[in-house]
Amino acid sequence: MSKITLPAYANVYISEGKKPFPWFGMDIGGTLVKLVYFEPKDITAEEEQEEVENLKSIRRYLTSNTAYGKTGVRDVHLELRNLTICGRTGNLHFIRFPTVAMHRFIQMGRDKHFSSLHTTLCATGGGAYKFENDFRTMADLELLKLDELDCLIQGLLYIDSVGFNGHPECYYFENPSDTQNCIKRPCCLDNLFPMLLVNIGSGVSILAVNEKDSYKRVTGTSLGGGTFLGLCCLLTGCETFEEALEMASKGDSTNVDKLVKDIYGGDYQRFGLQGSAVASSFGHMMSKEKRDSISKEDLARATLVTITNNIGSIARMCAVNEPGDQAALYRAFRVYRIPSEQKLPTISREYMKIERVVFVGNFLRINTVSTKLLAYAMDFWSKGQLKALFLEHEGYFGAVGAFLELLKSAKVRRGGVKPDSLSMQAFLLCQAMYHVTSPKSCLAFEYF
């Protein structure tokens, strides 16, 4: 594979200009609210003087604490330092709190006279719609509502392009099928497209992304992070995601799940099923004896494994089912002035296949059980054809996308993405394909 570097969005994308602080981006999900806040570090003395008291107090409140109220948390380890955006340099902070606390948050906005700051509050996620009216009536704030999937992708591409304080944002697992030697490895998202983007929040959305601006939601499932936590709460009496994961990490799902070997004594050879594969999630729990003797930890682990495997399975099927977007590739050709009447050969399905599955969403936070399991499942069931990729800022991309929109909304975009890099990537991909698919198709490349 040839390596092509993606454009640095931070430099191309946003022009110089002044956008009044504070800079926020917000993603209001079903379970969690994700907030990114840009803390300018290059405030001049002049600015310092001009800065209204409200603004100062917000900045101090957010940056000097790591916890807000009972449930708000700042993920200090994710903070992006010395980031230059819109000509300003500062740190990007990542904060989350449960959606059930949304009204308290709005009240705080009212108490701190947020509306007097004349800022636009960019928000995405379902809550942007659900709470719009509450923002307006309770805090006199207007939301700029943004599509959550647009935000997710733009946020993801941005964070990936600026990197994680000098390190890559992206990682994968080496030796995913070997639990002993499975190692987390950072990597660069070089050949990004086409990719399958699996966002695991309360529920799951699965997107096929062909280009920066070309994606579609392939499907989704209601068995997501909310299901894991919901079932864990009911089964074990736990109350938080952290608690549930803690229990899961100590449990053994094979006491709960029925494995192939529990039914067939070993492998089911007729169909090449390993004895250790799960035949029936929670299958052992059909027996009263086993129900009576099961531990909470085992139940939590089984719930986690069930949900994770299921997401992996659906994602894998989507990856093999998704033919990829030929049109996107053809658009790339047009940049290089291939006459439109030139009939391009059909690009073989083989080459359109999605090879990268990127998993994001807060379900994966502090959840190495699931990330490793997903990496294993992708590798095993696709016989090494699919690679699972993960991102350090798991659940924050929607909020980052909303934050970027804030900066974009006031300013003119300076040209967006250069066509070259993306198209060149498409071109190289096609070149690789045509060499295999049809010798005639080489004609198309005489134009270059």
């Binding site: 079903g30 379970t31 449960p98 959606t99 059930v100 996620g125 379902g126 809550g127 719609y129 659900k130 709470f131 599509d147 999937l149 929040g201 309360s202 529920g203 939601r217 499907t219 499932t221 209601s222 068995l223 997501g224 992070g225 909310g226 299901t227 919901g230 079932l231 864990c232 709460c233 009911l234 089964l235 709960v256 799940d257 029925k258 039914i263 007729r270 169909f271 099923l273 594969a277 799960v278 035949a279 029936s280 999630s281 929670f282 299958g283 052992h284 729990m285 059909m286 009263k288 004896e289 129900r291 139940l299 069930t306 299921n310 399975s313 659906i314 099927m317 989507c318 093999v320 089912n321």
Partner: protein, 774 residues
Amino acid sequence: MALSGGADRGSHSMDKSITLPPDEIFRNLENAKRFAIDIGGSLTKLAYYSTVQHKVAKVRSFDHSAKETDGDPLYEISVQEEITARLHFIKFENAYIETCLDFIKDHLVNTETKVIKATGGGAYKFKDLIEKKLKLKVDKEDEMTCLIKGCNFVLKNIPHEAFVYAKHADSEFRFQNTHPDIFPYLLINIGSGVSIVKVEAEDKFERIGGSSIGGGTFWGLGALLTKTKRFDELLQLASKGQHTNVDMLVKDIYGGAYGSLGLTGDLIASSFGKSATTDKEFSKEDMAKSLLHMISNDIGQLACLYAKLHNLTRVYFGGFFIRGHPVTMHTITYSINFFTKGEVQALFLRHEGYLGAIGAFLKGAEEDNPNQYSWGENYAGSSGLMSVSPDLNPVQRARSGTFDMLEMDRLERQLVNLPLLQDPTSYIPDTVDLTEDALAREYWLYCFEEALDGVVKRAIASQKDQPEAAERAEKFRQKYCHKLQTLRHQPFAYGSLTVRSLLDTREHCLNEFNFPDPYSKIKQKENDMALKYYLKVVKSFEELSWEQRQFTLVKGLLAGNVFDWGAKAVSDVLESDPEFGFEQAKQQLQERPWLVDAYNQWIERLKGPPHKCALFFVDNSGIDIILGVFPFIRELLIRGTEVVLASNSGPALNDVTNSELQILTERIAAMDPVIHTALKEDRLALVQNGSSSPCLDLSRLDKVLATVVRERGTDLVIIEGMGRAIHTNYYAMLSCESLKLAVIKNSWLAERLGGKIFSVVFKYEVPSKAQGQH
């Protein structure tokens, strides 16, 4: 006394207090051989092959060459014993397994059998018990292989096997036509886990995927959440619950719909999502419902992804999660519909529970090559699809001691499609689906109940010499009465309910009690009488002009068709007035224009070149066949058209059977040189249709008939009588010219069609050019 059934019973304590009625369950055990057993989590399915000895009526021609006296009947009727093959399948709760094994041991006479084929998860557990009790070696067969074999078998042999489930429709079950080619299909077996199998041919299948989230997950997780032990009880809870209390919906997140993605507000965004964010208690019902939706949707989604990847549209669902449960059939149907946007329909099978047992049995019977035969469901011995809706009958369902049965008769003839069907895949024999038409259903059920006394009387009269006939006839009455009761409550029990299925069920029940041909003597008498008039009728045509003759022939055909013991209006007349004759019948007929009148087109056609070969599906004995059909085909023969007379293989009402027709034709040939020559030159052929029904299913006809039709280049099909041309085939589209004619001998039906009793249907159809070229 009944135990709660369930896989979680630690020790299999057996209930021995039940006694099995030998007449009802495990019938024909004496001759049984080739056993197979499928032991699932809670139900055992036993299969065996047996032979049934029952009486058949045979006709034999007297030697007329020696002497001929006027008083002698044309042929003699004798009742003979015949042995036919039958497959028995019995389904019962695992609790009864020991009792059943004891029963089998006591009644099994045959000792040739050495092994019993076994499949299913429980086969291992009960291996020792079976070997000890039956002294048979347990030979284990692969579960999935058995399942697929069984599935192929029922799809091929049982019409209306597959159905679509529609909870809120007038009829919950919409049965599918038997597709001539059942492959390829996808079978989603939802047991404790899920297996997704692609079946491409009889022995070619592959497990292309699966999921661990299946029936075991519903049961196991459901038991943990609700403290409810039994699977059925969980389903019951689910059917009463509100999942929206537990699930996080799109509108819970968005406040409404997520418009840009087309996700409606009621869509589940996160299953059990609310239980993560609220502290309140959830009801058992709500949690069970949420769990049911979660699992059904997940399975549906995976099924769709696999169907799409392999480009398959026929997707069947089975396994204990489905097994006739309206609740799960509904949620799976909903899910498939949602994920494929209606492009794929979820299909279910009537005999889904038997697939493993059928398959295991077939594995063991491979040397008998059961797949070379056609088989037919015996309505008399099969319990049919029971509605197991927990809402309908929770008590019975929860403590079921019922034995469910399926019996399949080996048919003597191999059955195939009529090659002249325009589109075999969309052909539906029956004109009215009584499952969907409640008014018609009421009427016909009432009709058949009303007629039952007469049938019983007729059956007894046909066996005057046998003193126990009355007792048997009474048993027949009870059996058929019970069937009608069942059908009143569960019209879908044997697939789509139709007049044909009601008639066939009655024939099956009559056979069951050794009344093979209650009309044999009447048929004999009428044939004798009609033969005497044959020459006179034929002669009378000679004086007529061509146009007059054609009309008289058609009228004769129609008048002959009035003589029908199957129609109550007619049988009443015939019972009371034995002298009722051909001329009177002609007068009863409606004057032209008839209710359906294509006579002018038919005459115009006759003025053209002759047809190459006409296939005539005949109806009644006596006047109908002899004075109606024969003069009519005689004219066709004279025109230069070859004629194939297709008649029933076995008896049904007063319909002429193939063996009777052989004798009649010989006799007519002896009188009439036209028929004689035609027979000699093989321009007139008599072929059996493979059926013993008063109706006609053109998709299940004798293979020989199909060959004859093809070889002779048949270009005209004539279907006569209410049963064959009105109740069935009225809308059948053929690829050649066709004539459907009948006299409506039922005022209710006549009224429905917009006419009066004895209205005439004369339907002549020519396929459009493009269609004709197929």
